[in-house]
Amino acid sequence: MDIQVFVDLQDTLDQESSLFDAIKEAIKELNKICRIGSAKLSKVHAVPQSQTQEIIDAIKPQFAEIKQKLSTLAGFIKPVTFFKYHDMWGYAVQSACALVVFSIYLEHSRLATPEDIHEYLGFRVNTTNSDISEFVITLEEYLHSVVSMFNELSRLAVNAVIAGDIKRPQEISTFASELYSGFQLLNLKNDALRRRFDSIKYDIKKIEEVQYDLRVRGLIS
């Protein structure tokens, strides 16, 4: 008689199983497109700034697909259980946001706002702690994706010099330090976001070293 408790539980868990599988599949698809987009966007490291625009234009189809895959994923999630499965897609959503953040910097030299994310990915960033009534991108996912950009910026500074854009590292440096001051306003706890935040200073250092190298050789004033 007590065993019935377990049999019923097993039924419940099995029913959930097909939902799990659908979610996993959708996340896999999303990850794939993000990887393609990321690989294409990486080309900006290899070319001078003048050629950046065509690379950004070239990933527009990826953004369209990402929007669609994300929508598929969102279709499986009922808002009331949003956080139950949330950890499953955290990484994929971060990658997607990171693409948006980096593209917008390359195109407009500014930080992508939650509104930009909404426009590119089709879902709001939840910047408050209000109840979830639809699929959202969490504030932490957005912040993680912004942290990812520092690594791109430090690489970009180095590669700009290689490509001959010796004025560019200064712009990058100014922007990076402005962004860092924003991050320094946050009161972080000892979690993943804090650990990634701690790594930002190494990227800042690298960018400053590029500046120093240029200045000390008299390549810039």
Partner: protein, 280 residues
């Protein structure tokens, strides 16, 4: 000299009024030097200030849930200790005391429920689950001792629904429930050993039967495979069952020895009146 004094001063604390309005504090806020702050920087700082507020509130809520969960854990453990004294204090006393402590736990659940409303329930489930599991363990032991059966998830929710309320104070997920009852075998084993000390054969039999059902049940759930760390709990369950079976075995053997030795061996005292047995 005035200039020097100014320079020295600036590094120490922000001016509360700028040079032009010296002597007239216009407002008490330190004026930020915005002359060198670009538009982009201002935008960034302003956005991040609001993110900071959101994150602060989120972390605070998380802390509250953690603290409350710890209190629930502590009190639930006390209920378990109370229940394990049943072999020396008897049912009535123990169940009454458990009931009293249970009222206090319910108050804690009332407190935690305000932070677990709506979608926050799953958001902070990771922090709340430990307390919920300990509570389920306490209720589970109680139900086993009182009614010799396994408490169901629905019954846990009933206990968490105050008089006249429609909803339970907090949600109990399948995972919370399963992990909660998986901690029962350890306590049942303790009860079993205590019972052997009192010679309560029936209790020992009940324990073995109960744990065997639990093992079978959890093995079924492992096939569905969606609950984290269930396999480790299963191993602990299995080891508790082995210990309980070993205890039952040695108790049975000893009885065999006793009856084989016949005359001088006192009959195993039944649970209750040792005084009566001694007088016989």
């Amino acid at each position: 000299m005035d200039q020097n004094a100014d320079d020295q001063r600036e590094t120490k604390r922000p001016r509360i009024y700028n040079n032009k309005q010296r002597g007239k504090a216009v407002n008490k806020q330190p004026i930020e030097d915005t002359t060198n702050t670009s538009i982009t920087k201002q935008a960034i700082l302003s956005s991040f200030k609001s993110y900071r507020d959101t994150l602060d509130a989120h972390y605070d809520q998380r802390e509250r849930v953690i603290k409350c969960s710890r209190d629930i854990t502590a009190l639930s453990k006390k209920i378990v200790f109370t229940l394990l004294r049943i072999t020396q204090d008897g049912q009535t006393q123990v169940f009454d005391e458990a009931e009293r402590k249970h009222k206090q736990v319910v108050e804690l659940f009332v407190k935690i429920s305000s932070d677990l409303r709506g979608t926050d329930a799953y958001k902070y489930n990771g922090q709340a689950t430990h307390g919920i599991q300990e509570y389920i363990e306490a209720l589970g032991l109680w139900t086993f001792l009182k009614d010799n059966r396994l408490i169901t998830r629905e019954q846990v929710l009933e206990r968490l629904t105050p008089e006249g309320a429609q909803e339970p104070l907090v949600n109990v997920t399948e995972s919370d429930y399963v992990l909660g009852i998986c901690d029962l075998p350890g306590e049942v084993n303790r009860f079993c050993i205590n019972s052997i000390g009192k010679g309560d054969r029936e209790a020992v039999k009940r324990c073995v039967a109960f744990l065997r059902v639990m093992k079978e049940g959890v093995a079924l759930l492992l096939c569905s495979g969606k609950i984290k760390d269930l396999d480790k709990k299963f191993e602990v369950l299995d080891s508790s069952l082995s210990k309980t079976e070993a205890a039952y075995y040695s108790m049975s053997i000893r009885e065999g020895e006793m009856s084989a030795m016949d005359v001088d061996a006192p009959p195993p005292p039944s649970s209750g009146n040792q005084a009566v047995a001694a007088a016989e």
